[in-house]
């Protein structure tokens, strides 16, 4: 007797597969419910409660949170001391993003275009390896490297470039007593710590630019600089933006590096940490926490209008 056209289902797994085949959305729904619950209820819920908190204020005499909607707390952000914190953080985040992008691009470009086989593995290992060790260990290591008695000072001494180092440290605002207590040092550490988050998305977007597109550009008469400006950069832009979202928002929210490196001037992350902890001023902490969100939204809106996502 020939085999039947329909095979009898054996066991639960056959029946489930049949059910999912008849109702393709069911499986998708089952897979999406846990993450959507997390995102929708837990994450957006806390974000919403943060937003609510930021519209509360604190009673100056009792130090208690007054649960009434007011813009008083937001007005406090515009006090000179607080505005300084915001501007300082914003400038640092912008500088770190720019610095990371400039260092990351050649590395990502090399990895995407030329690295093959073993060298590709070396690239990934080189980028990921620093992520395996604790963030704190790296920051303290940098403190030792940048300290007055540290490696940089020593290296400057034996190479006879001490005067150059002193000149850099003598710069107004960004300089200081030593690299580890200056904005320059903080910039170096931030850039180092967030660099992988810039390189990886950049590399992924550059990988999707076929060689023939670069050849087509040269074929039509473009110089290397023209090809870079009109073809490579626009096509890599989504990756650059993705990377800059990481470096920008991570710097905006960080509260550890400004504590360990630098001249102990306050940053948004530090302000949030201190206000909700020791100071007990949760509304102002919440208002500070909203600032990076607004900055990121404005940044993305600007990037979209500038056509950064046209190649997506």
């Amino acid at each position: 007797m020939p085999a039947p056209a329909i095979i009898q289902p054996k066991g639960l797994s056959d029946r489930l597969t049949a059910l999912f085949w008849r109702r393709p959305r069911l499986l998708l729904g089952l897979l999406l419910v846990p993450p959507l619950f997390w995102l929708g209820v837990v994450y957006l819920g806390s974000l919403f409660s943060l937003l609510i908190q930021s519209f509360y204020s604190i009673d100056e005499f009792s130090g208690m949170v007054v649960p009434e909607f007011t813009l008083k707390t937001y007005a406090e952000l515009f006090r000179a001391a607080n505005l300084d914190i915001i501007i300082r953080t914003l400038l640092m985040a912008a500088a770190v993003t720019l610095g990371a992008a400039l260092i990351a691009f050649p590395i990502a470009y090399y990895a995407a275009r030329f690295a093959k086989g073993r060298w590709k593995a070396v690239f990934y290992l080189g980028i990921m390896l620093p992520l395996w060790s604790s963030y704190l260990v790296k920051v303290y290591a940098w403190k030792l490297i940048l300290a007055k008695e540290g490696i940089v000072t020593w290296a400057a001494g034996i190479t006879g470039t001490s005067s150059l180092l002193d000149a850099v440290l003598a710069l107004p605002v960004v300089g200081g007593g030593s690299l580890s207590t200056s904005y320059i040092g903080m910039f170096l550490v931030f850039t180092y710590v967030w660099l992988p988050y810039m390189i990886l998305p950049m590399q992924a977007s550059l990988e999707r630019v076929p060689t023939s597109m670069l050849e087509a550009s040269a074929d039509l008469g473009a110089t290397r600089a023209q090809t870079f400006r009109t073809v490579v950069l626009p096509l890599a832009m989504p990756g650059v933006i993705a990377g800059s979202i990481f470096t920008f928002s991570l710097t905006l929210g960080d509260y550890i590096i400004p504590q360990i490196i630098g001249n102990s001037a306050s940053f948004i992350g530090m302000a949030v940490y201190q206000l909700q902890g020791t100071a007990g001023n949760t509304p102002l902490a919440a208002a500070f926490a909203v600032v990076p969100i607004l900055i990121m939204l404005a940044y993305l809106g600007f990037a979209k209008r500038a056509g950064a996502f046209d190649a997506l």
Binding site: P210, E215, A218, D219, L220, G221, T230, P234, L235
Partner: protein, 328 residues
């Protein structure tokens, strides 16, 4: 007048691989030239040597008499239609076509005007505002063509230009490319692995095999008088006869080729064969024969009686149609 493209003893090695191995080649100005061969035969590398994406390991390449061996691609007055079209996805069709003018610093109004002109040349007027992603394969190829022509190159290179299109579109594009080339009068050099395409479009063609040119000539010469066994087999699947069989069929003791369409089935002949398969072609039937271990084919026109597979038959042909391959 110098030739459009001239190769003198050009080689291109990749490590131990001789992709192009001592090629001499002359492409006349205004001709439609095909480089035909199986994949890995060196035809695409030759095209890239003309465009400048590869440099010769040894030998000289001249374009209109000028040695271009050290000239980078962006300074060569040749343009390429890429196999994957390589259209810029972030630019609309008009900006894609105008790209070559943009990098030369030509103003927006002027270059857009010229781009529209090119688009109408390839019958895509009105598509300027679309993105490449919104076009079909055939339309993308026309955009690639318009983009390559906007700089008014003296030589246009086409890398497997019709490979990604379906049969009907491919045939229409063959006619269009041919007409376009005749209208513009510039030299077209195209690479293909499709012998029908090469034979029907080219004025002359080079057949590549293992980095060398096996034969150069007009389609008619290459098809009817193949120089080597490889050419006979690759260009139109001729019957290749070993010396012993050629002699048995009344020829000299040499390798020979015999086209299936001039091979007829006969009741009697010097050598008998077994019918192994019939392949219906529409306009006729290809009868595959086993003649003492050599596979031969004969085309029986539609309407004529067909032999049964497994039966014995003999073949007959006009002795003048037997082509002796001295170079085999």
């Amino acid at each position: 007048m110098p030739a459009a493209v001239e190769f003198a003893q050009v080689t291109r090695h990749f490590g131990n691989v001789r992709a192009v191995d001592g090629v001499d080649l002359t492409i006349a100005e205004g001709s439609f030239f095909a480089m035909l061969g199986p994949s890995g035969s060196g035809k695409t590398t030759c095209l890239r040597l003309i465009s400048g994406f590869e440099s010769p390991t040894t030998g000289t390449i001249r374009i209109f008499g000028e040695d271009v061996s050290t000239t980078p691609p962006h300074l060569r007055n040749v343009n390429t239609v890429f196999q994957d079209y390589a259209l810029f996805p972030h630019m609309n069709v008009r900006d894609n076509v105008a790209y070559g003018l943009m990098v030369k610093g030509i103003g927006k109004t002027q270059r857009h005007e010229k781009a529209e002109e090119m688009l109408s040349l390839v019958k895509l007027s009105g598509y300027g505002d679309r993105k490449p992603g919104q076009l079909s394969g055939g339309q993308r190829q026309r955009v690639a063509l318009a983009r390559a022509l906007v700089n008014e190159p003296r030589v246009l290179l086409l890398d497997e230009p019709l490979g990604a299109l379906d049969l009907k579109l491919r045939e229409a594009m063959q006619d269009e490319l041919k007409a376009l080339q005749q209208r513009l009068g510039i030299t077209f050099v195209f690479v293909t692995h499709d012998q029908h395409e090469a034979l029907s479009m080219a004025d002359s063609l080079a057949v590549f095999n293992e980095g060398k040119i096996a034969q150069i000539g007009t389609p008619e010469a290459v098809y009817n008088r193949p120089a080597t066994r490889f050419v006979a087999d690759f260009v139109g699947s001729s019957n290749v006869l070993p010396p012993a069989l050629t002699r048995a069929l009344g020829g000299p003791d040499e390798w020979a080729s015999l086209r299936p369409e001039v091979t007829r089935l006969a009741a009697t002949g010097p050598v008998t064969a077994t019918v192994t398969a019939l392949r219906y072609l529409g306009s006729g039937t290809r009868v595959v024969l086993d003649m003492g271990g050599t596979e031969l084919a004969a085309i029986v026109p539609a309407g004529q009686p067909l032999p049964e597979p497994g039966t014995q038959t003999a073949i007959a042909f006009d002795p003048a149609a037997l082509h002796i391959m001295a170079g085999a």
